[in-house]
Amino acid sequence: MIDIFLLEAILNGILLGGVLALLALGLNIVFGVIDVVWICYAELIMFGMYGNYVLHKDLGWPLLLAFAVCVVVVAVLGVLLHWLVIRPVLGGAPINQLLVTGGVLTFMQALATLVFGIEFRNLGISMPSLELGEIFLSQSRIWACGVSLVAVALLWLFLKKTYLGTAIRAISQDREIMPLMGVKPGRIYLITSAIGGGLAGLAACLLVLQYDVHPAIGLTFGPITFMVCVMGGLGNLLGGFLAAFIFAQFIQVGGFYFELEWGYVFAFCFFIAMMFWRPQGLLGKRA
């Protein structure tokens, strides 16, 4: 006899995995191609969430239009982040690249505090739940998970089937040789940053339906997203996707059998064990 509540926890784990996978997607593609970790990735999402709030709640725009505009705006922010901050330190030591994006994180949090204040804001939208007998599932989570799957599929198709995608993959495989073959890395980096930013914007649209937005919201998602990416193999899209679902199951099922916090303890223990067993990540290749 299956415990119906355990089944609900597992299904919720799958939905949470979808959310984490979407968060990891943008961070991974940027690292995979440009070899720089956007420590401030969750803060881009925060700005996207604020954008949705302002456009929909303050200005009264239709939600879908607000979503579309925010995806574009955050994509542009990604481009600006690369052009203004990353590009000057691309040839520098990795620690400098980390520090500079860390600085952007602090800057964005402070800017959000100055512009939007410290209040918690939300769209006030409540989506109905999906009832399957005794099991209740969040529709906003189902949407997030579904969109995440579609985004991964589209990104995969783009990288595999288009000329630009091939160029992006080529650059990610060898940053030194490809320019000799006629690929312009600067242009590819900008396009990749736009894609990374756009995915952050997409995540913002789905998260703003589930969470309040405030200047520190990035701290809720930033560390866990980074861990999912590392566990999957930094830069490995499929690895990050898989890691997100494994991580989420640890949180959900662990939190179901024990106290909620134990779920995170198990997930982090698994992460540490993985770092010993496969430091390159689940699907990453040894350098």
Binding site: N12, I118, E259
Partner: protein, 432 residues
């Protein structure tokens, strides 16, 4: 001769005035380090409201000429909702800014280590908002004082309220009442939850689940699933702001229903935020907190306190543009006012100054009867040697209920402003 006498008298009076004002001008200002979370997650959960109110109290005191001729020179520091920043700021204020005392502090997670650090350095701290009993319990602190309610009382109040009204309102004997206790896992949430568990079990209630979680957890759905399985009649919740809204949202989506939800301060003290997020679904939530002063009948308080509350409310609304004045405003203002108008003058007049020793002695002499502060409770500190030395033994919380955005007192019964709506009315989104 008579004219000359008058002239002398006038001259003497003038000289006296001049000397007096010179003395006042010459008196050193009292430097106070005020620490709150002006940014980060705690800021919107009540810390900013308390900080604004503390500043209002300081401004009002200075407008009246300070305390015994000493102006208050406040240095405001932002703890950024991070314990390590709070401790560093306290150290900076004490060692570099050379403040005479530390005041404020919203989070119990900041308060517990800060109190021990300040006390160990034999410096003085006046805590305004943090509630954890662990700040004082068994610590034998000598230089830290708090007039505010403590977390054991929060836990006690909700269970006692249920014990008194369960049979009559829910038709359930207290011993048959199924209660779930959930809380953020810092000193504040854990302290209140311990008080809940001890008191509810003491009344014979069935505690079907007790669980803590991190206030920064991105997901609470497995806890909601367990709550559904445990089928509580009443949920006792202690949390900050983002986790409370996440819990309410995920509970609704996952079909968790209850007869009553009782929150314990912090995020539950922000009714305007809850109403904005949940609209009518925020109706009938209970909140245990020190009372928002404007809800009390001024006739039950000492003369002049009603006017003081009105002034506080007026200034707070002007400063923030807020329509609702949360309990944290009263907490930030009231504790500061007690210090500036009772403890500090006595320290200067009776103990010759405002060094930590004089302030400690003056605080221990405090004896304000019930009705003597804007929040109704009196002030007398547990003496040294007591398990809770430094904590106000006369503090007391109330149970409030939000109905259509309005805050009402439902317990203690003697000062209730409405009859509690219990259980949730049929048709409510969370009604069982």
């Amino acid at each position: 001769m008579r004219k000359m006498h008058s002239a002398f008298a006038a001259l003497a009076a003038f000289a006296g005035l001049a000397l007096g004002s010179t003395a006042a001008l010459a008196a050193d200002p009292i430097k106070i380090g005020v620490i709150y979370d002006y940014t980060g997650a705690f800021a919107g959960g009540g810390s900013k409201a308390a900080a604004v109110a503390t500043k209002i109290a300081i401004d009002m005191i200075n407008e009246k000429g300070g305390v015994e001729g000493h102006m208050i020179e406040a240095i405001y520091a932002d703890a950024q909702s991070k314990a390590e920043v709070a401790i560093n700021e306290a150290t900076r204020l004490l060692d570099q800014e050379n403040v005479d005392l530390i005041m404020g502090v919203y989070s119990s997670g900041h308060c517990v280590p800060m109190a021990q650090k300040v006390d160990a350095a034999k410096r003085f701290m006046w805590a305004n908002v943090c509630v954890s009993s662990a700040v004082f319990k068994g610590k034998n602190l000598r230089y830290v004082f708090r007039a505010q309610v403590h977390s054991d009382q929060f836990g006690w109040a909700s269970c006692t309220f249920l014990n008194e009204r369960s049979k009559e309102k829910l038709g359930i004997e207290p011993k048959d009442l199924r209660v779930a206790i959930i809380h953020e896992d810092g000193p504040y949430g854990s302290g209140v939850a311990s008080g809940n568990e001890e008191t509810c079990k003491g009344y014979g209630m069935d505690v079907v689940l007790k669980e803590g979680y991190s206030a920064k957890a991105p997901d609470l759905s497995s806890m909601v699933t367990k709550l559904r399985r445990a089928r509580p009649d009443v949920i006792l919740h202690t949390g900050y702001n983002p986790d409370i809204t996440l819990f309410l949202r995920q509970s609704k989506e996952q079909g968790l229903r209850w007869k009553a939800l009782i929150g314990h301060g912090a995020g539950y003290g922000q009714i305007d935020k809850l109403s904005e997020a949940f609209g009518a679904d925020a109706n009938y939530i209970f909140n245990v907190d020190p009372v928002a002063a404007q809800l009390l009948d001024p006739a039950t308080l000492a003369p002049g306190l009603g006017d003081l509350t009105a002034e506080m409310v007026k200034r707070y609304k002007a400063e923030t543009g807020a329509q609702e004045v949360p309990p944290h405003t009263s907490m930030g203002f009231n504790q500061s006012w007690i210090f500036f108008t009772d403890v500090l003058p006595r320290a200067i007049k009776t103990y010759g100054g405002y060094d930590p020793e004089a302030l400690r002695k003056a605080a221990l002499d405090t004896d304000i009867p019930v009705g003597g502060t804007i929040q109704g409770y009196g002030v007398k500190f547990f003496p040294e040697g007591h398990e809770m030395s430094g904590q106000n033994e006369r503090s007391s919380p109330v149970v409030m209920q939000y109905i259509d955005g309005k805050t009402n007192i439902v317990w203690p019964t003697a000062i209730k402003t409405i009859e509690p709506v219990l259980p949730l009315p049929e048709g409510h989104a969370y009604a069982k």
